[in-house]
């Protein structure tokens, strides 16, 4: 099926992401911030879908929106909301913030002005029908070693967390 109104959906989803992102840092209530972050993550998953990456979109929803954010909310709910509402929201590291914002802004301007020479001028051929199978072939064929290293790293982190949390195993 041919894509419909692609620019419209791209700008809509980007706007939702930006509004969600701003809400994450401006809301005083941490639960509202977490919910805004979920909105941002879901809009991001939709943008992956628009880029013909359904597998990445599905994993984004399962892992981030359904898994990690539930644990976030789980922890936030146990924190006293009344006390955190009174705390100051922003710390005064505006010098570092300025430098980071300038660097990022400079990067954006550079990409915007010189973009045509950096990026390829034609779109890649998209594999929509068997995208997941292609991802699997690359992940378990070409990048097998890197993938296994990453999973080993995660395993070490899990075991480390158990060892640190439990006094007696």
């Amino acid at each position: 099926m041919a894509p419909v109104a692609t620019p419209f959906f791209f700008y809509l989803l980007s706007a939702i992401m930006l509004i969600g992102g701003i809400a994450v840092i401006t809301r005083k209530n941490p639960v509202h911030s977490a919910l805004a972050l979920i909105v941002t993550l879901l809009a991001q998953a939709s943008i992956y879908l628009m880029l013909y990456a359904p597998f990445v979109a599905g994993v984004q929803i399962i892992l981030y929106a359904g898994g990690i954010m539930v644990l976030f909310l789980f922890v936030i709910m146990l924190v006293s909301i009344d006390r955190s509402m009174k705390e100051r929201q922003f710390n005064s590291q505006w010098v570092v913030g300025m430098i980071a914002a300038t660097a990022l802004g400079g990067l954006f301007i550079a990409v915007y002005t010189k973009g045509t020479s950096i990026f390829p001028d034609h779109a890649l051929a998209v594999v929509e029908d068997n995208n997941t199978q292609e991802v699997a072939k690359v992940l378990y064929g070409q990048y097998m070693f890197a993938f296994e290293i990453a999973s080993l790293l995660l395993l070490v982190a899990i075991i480390g967390a158990v060892v640190m949390a439990k006094k007696k195993i």
Partner: protein, 425 residues
């Protein structure tokens, strides 16, 4: 006008789902049908659960509203809609309002990819099963939000229990699903599929439902999923999130009226959704039973009579009970109503005998019949198993189901590899 008719009829000759064919009209029709069917199924489940539980406990169950309480769900619905809608004074208004909405949205959206037949699905996605698991895992967010926004102790504890439980059982559930998806890759190309229709087609091509594949590996994976799905939907014996004796009603204690009915709707449609995942992955989806043992045209024709026979059987039950109704004048309207219901069911049954209809409806019938079996199991569990303690629940999830799931996954992969490399090189 002609162009519109041509657009509508152009889909009929394609053998794809309306979503895959890109036909908006039929996609809308299918969405309406699935929505309507689901709502009717939830209403029927409401009545059946109360009735079957009652009979398991040697009671009669609802008997007052309509013959044998058949109109009880409608009375309940009217009561819920007319009830005063209360929001606790200290509640977080927006989150309180959003929570039931998210739960219902997540529960209904998953039905976009449920395959009722080779062409009877709203759409077929490349990532079908991932989509179902992902979207249904969003419903836990709604539960957590409901528990927190109520600003009350019982709902908060209920929500904490529910989220801990659902996150733990998702792991075992995912491992069981992966071992079934591994089985779809046993074909000439050696690549599997995540599409719901593709999974059933793989079972058709291998002439074997995945529950019987590599016996007992498929059966064990199915068992893990069958336990985890009860925990995922917060149903007895894993209903600690809404344990009446400890938490009043758990996360929806502060909800009333229409908002509460949304939670109710979501709970039952989530039950149907996870049951349809189990049916699709292990029980051959829309395929009829005994495809190998009883194959051939005569058996196909006999099995195509099943939908009609089922409805005629329901009609016969209605007529039997019409005769047994009390002969008092006060019961006259109820008796006529029950007889009328029987006539309607019988007519539906007769229509289903028409070959042109039965060919198209068979897939949907077998899928729904298998899902209905799971729905009965849910009620049966509730009637027989005592509720688990929370530490027992966690122990079961992490120390029993998770190692079992890992073991089954490794063994399935090894056996599949052996089969491909050694037995059939």
């Amino acid at each position: 006008m002609g162009a519109i008719i041509q657009y509508i009829s152009s889909y009929l000759s394609s053998d794809k789902t309306p979503g895959a064919a890109g036909n908006m009209f039929w996609a809308l029709v299918y969405i309406m049908l699935v929505f309507g069917g689901l709502s009717v199924a939830v209403i029927a489940m409401n009545w059946l659960e109360r009735k079957i539980l009652a009979h398991m406990q040697v009671r009669l169950g609802p008997m007052r509203v309509g013959p044998h309480g058949l109109l009880q769900p409608i009375a309940d619905a009217i009561k819920l809609l007319l009830k005063e809608d209360i929001m606790p004074a200290e509640a977080d208004g927006f989150v309180f309002w959003m929570a039931p909405l998210i739960v219902v949205l997540a529960a209904f959206t998953v039905f976009v990819v449920v395959p009722f037949g080779p062409t009877h699905a709203i759409t077929d996605m490349n990532i079908g099963i991932l989509f179902m698991l992902g979207v249904s895992s969003l419903s836990v967010l709604g539960i957590v939000m409901a528990g927190w926004a109520s600003n009350s102790h019982y709902p908060l504890i209920g929500a904490l229990r529910s989220s801990a439980q659902m996150v733990s059982y998702e792991v075992a559930m995912g491992l069981a699903v992966v071992s079934a998806i591994l089985m779809t890759s046993l074909n000439a190309e050696g690549t599997g599929t995540l599409s719901m229709i593709g999974i059933v087609k793989a079972q058709l091509a291998q002439h074997e439902w995945f529950i019987f594949k590599f016996f007992p590996l498929g059966l064990v994976a199915f068992f893990i999923f069958a336990v985890a799905m009860v925990a995922e939907t917060n149903r007895a014996p894993f209903d600690l999130a809404e344990a009446e004796s400890e938490l009043t009603a758990g996360f929806h204690t502060e909800y009333s009226g229409f908002r509460w009915s949304l939670f109710f709707l979501a709970e039952y449609s989530a039950m149907i959704a996870v049951s349809s995942i189990a049916v699709t992955l292990w029980l051959g989806g829309w395929l009829r039973p005994f495809p190998n043992m009883l194959s051939g045209t005569p058996w196909d024709q006999i099995f195509s009579l099943f939908p009609g026979v089922t409805f005629l059987f329901f009609a016969a039950i209605c007529f039997y009970n019409t005769v047994r109704m009390p002969k008092h004048p006060l019961f006259r309207i109820q008796t006529i109503g029950l007889a009328g219901f029987g006539v309607v069911l019988g007519l539906i049954g007769l229509v289903l005998f028409v070959p042109a209809v039965s060919v198209r409806v068979q897939d949907i019938f077998w899928f729904s019949a298998k899902v209905a079996g799971f729905m009965y199991l849910y009620i049966w569990y509730r009637g027989t198993f005592p509720r688990y303690r929370f530490d027992q629940l966690m122990q079961m999830g992490w120390k029993v189901l998770l190692p079992m799931g890992l073991g089954v996954l490794i063994l399935t992969a090894s056996v599949a590899l052996l089969q491909q490399k050694i037995w059939h090189p």
